[in-house]
Amino acid sequence: MAIPDEEYILKTTSACAGCPSSLILRYVTKAAGPDTVLVIPACCTSVIQGVYPTTAMNIPVYNVAFASAAAVGSGMSEAFRACGKKTNVICYAGDGGTVDIGIQALSGALERGNDFLYVCYDNEAYSNTGMQRSGATPFAARTTTTPAGKQDLKKDLDAIVAAHNPVYQATACAAYPVDLYNKVVKALSMPGPKFMHVLAPCPPGWRFPSEETIEMGKLAVKSGMWVLWERDHGKLAITGASKAAMVKRIPVADYLTRQGRFKGITEEQIAEIQAAIDRSIGCLQKEVESEC
């Protein structure tokens, strides 16, 4: 699929250099096209889009309260549909606004079957407020509220979403824009609730140089720390670069040790993370091969 030239996020944002969230939003909006409204709770994108009365976005953007994105999206979608409009409603939210404070509204909207797409760009912390721990922060990562490294595991958002049986669910990564683009196009072709979880390697938050965003995303996928897949009406398929990673992966240490947030991680912790990856890849493989 050819990615259109039209830009809906202009070149004048106030994003950090190397920002994955802007990159993801660029391809999400290219896939969605001009008949689209973005619903954005408090997150980095609240700031990135610019300061009133200017905006860096070329489509309507509705900024809403932190916990409310999915609920606003469902109300908006119902109103458009009631008026016979096909306008895409896309909630674009960070991980904090999704896995933590927004999970109730998300769960409700998914269960109700409202026709909208929810995209969670996951930079694995409250980056907008300066990198505090979120439910999506991975084990052993340092944040300003986990100075010794997070002791708990990353919340399994995808399993939570899957339990709602959305018509379409997928993961993606900022480093693989074509995979991301294709999934957004596919998601928006279906009525009902759709969900995408996109890894957003954040240079200042994860503590790596700004020019390495893409590389960090690639390492995440190649190590199996992040897997690209989609569930179309419940049926799982591994996509893109993750197909190779299902068979052969780089050691996760190659991904972890490139990031300042994992500074001080122990060999035991790395081994623990490696074992967890191998386990979860095995589970995904079983699900792909299964009939149900």
């Binding site: 001009p34 008949d35 689209t36 409204v37 619903v39 609240s46 700031v47 889009q49 610019g50 300061v51 009133y52 009365p53 200017t54 905006t55 976005m57 070329n58 489509i59 309507p60 953007v61 509705y62 900024n63 809403v64 309260a65 916990a67 409310s68 999915a70 609920a71 606003v72 999206g73 469902s74 109300g75 908006m76 979608s77 119902e78 109103a79 458009f80 549909r81 009631a82 008026c83 409009k85 306008t87 409603v89 109730q104 509204a105 769960s107 409700g108 909207a109 269960e111 109700r112 409202n114």
Partner: protein
């Protein structure tokens, strides 16, 4: 159509007749009958609306915001804990200038659990930018809920409206009321800032202090202008349907030396107390405040004032008494009564007048 039904049913029928496009709601006692009725109307086809059964009150207001942002008419209903749970969204909806209409069944807040009538819930939402009206009969609930859409959606207002009914006392009482032929009374919605795909813009983007300040002033201006709009709409309603309302409802006030002031059902029952006091030779009258926001201009000069609050602002006093002190410069005898659905009769109200002291405060049932 003349019929008999509960206060809740009157609200539900008004909403049916106002033809909103989206209703998003969450059940809570004693409001639940409103959303059950509306769900039935949507199911049986007597109402052509999208009913969104949200998972919380925070989300009911959020869904109304999302829908109203596209320019369609929206409604929700709540009570008590539900109302304060959506507090954040009350600020967001007024700040976004969305003309959402909501019914609130006034109910006490816990702990402990209490489902009785109390107006602390909505009065603690006083500063959210919502217009607030307190009604006293099923008829008034119907009429006000119906008119509320025209007031909220008026281009000089564009602010949300909350219609308050005393929990159980009004929500659950069965009374006669008359529905109207709604045709043509409510103009089609015309939200000038509705989302328009052809004119993309940012809504609620990062806003600096100077602009933020101006937006707050705009809300205040809408609130001030709403007084004239309320009067205009109520006049139009009276002209077409014959029932007349005002910012306040006065009873035997012309020559009154002492005036009782209250909101909601107490504001109706106190009329019976006025009759009793008149028979005793006391020149009493009553003023039932309907619109609390915007707050009405009331001339109380030269009169003794007894205010009954079914609420309290801890550390300061009865909310209505405080508003009247500040706005009208009076020194009322402030009575706190009816909290948590406490029984207050017209005899009790008459007794409040008999024991009045200028500037005093009396906690009914607590003070000796």
């Amino acid at each position: 159509m003349l019929m008999i039904g509960t206060g809740n049913k009157a609200v539900a029928l008004a909403v049916r007749d106002a033809k909103p496009v989206v209703v998003a709601a969450y059940p809570i006692t004693p409001q639940t009958e409103i959303v059950e009725e509306i769900a039935n109307y949507v199911t049986d086809g007597s109402m052509d609306a999208r009913y969104i059964p949200v998972e919380s009150e925070h989300s009911s207001m959020a869904a109304c915001i999302g829908a109203a942002a596209t320019g369609v008419r929206t409604f929700t209903a709540t009570s008590s804990h539900g109302l304060v749970y959506m507090c954040e969204m009350l600020h967001m909806s007024a700040g976004a200038r969305l003309p959402i209409v909501m019914a609130n069944a006034n109910r006490a807040l816990g702990p402990g659990w209490n489902i009785g009538a109390e107006q602390s819930d909505s009065l603690s939402m006083r500063d959210t930018g919502w217009l607030q009206c307190y009604v006293s009969t099923a008829q008034e609930a119907y009429d006000t809920a119906f008119m509320a859409f025209r007031i909220a959606e008026h281009e000089s207002v564009l602010l949300p409206v909350m219609i308050n009914l005393d929990g159980f006392l009004l929500t659950h009482i069965t009374q006669p009321f008359e529905t109207v032929d709604p045709e043509g009374f409510l103009p089609p919605t015309n939200t000038p800032h509705a989302i328009d795909i052809n004119h993309p813009g940012g809504y609620g983007t990062l806003t600096k202090g100077t602009e933020h300040f101006r937006f707050r002033w705009d809300i205040e201006r809408g609130m001030r202008d709403s007084v004239a709009v309320i009067q205009e709409v109520e006049e139009a309603f009276a002209g077409r349907y014959g029932r007349r309302y005002d910012m306040v409802e006065e009873y035997r006030c012309e020559d009154a030396e002492v005036v009782i002031i209250a909101m909601g059902t107490l504001g109706k029952e106190m009329e019976v107390a006025v009759d009793i006091l008149r028979e005793e030779g006391v020149r009493a009258g009553s003023i039932r405040i309907r619109w609390f926001r915007p707050f009405p201009a009331i001339d109380l000069a030269g009169r003794e004032v007894v205010v009954i609050d079914r609420d309290y602002s801890f550390g300061f006093g009865g909310v209505l008494a405080n508003e009247l002190r500040a706005k009208c410069g009076c020194r009322p005898f402030s009575v706190i009564a009816g909290l948590g659905g406490q029984e207050v009769t017209y005899d009790d109200i008459a007794s409040f007048v008999r024991i009045r002291t200028e500037g005093g405060e009396h906690w009914f049932g607590v003070d000796a």
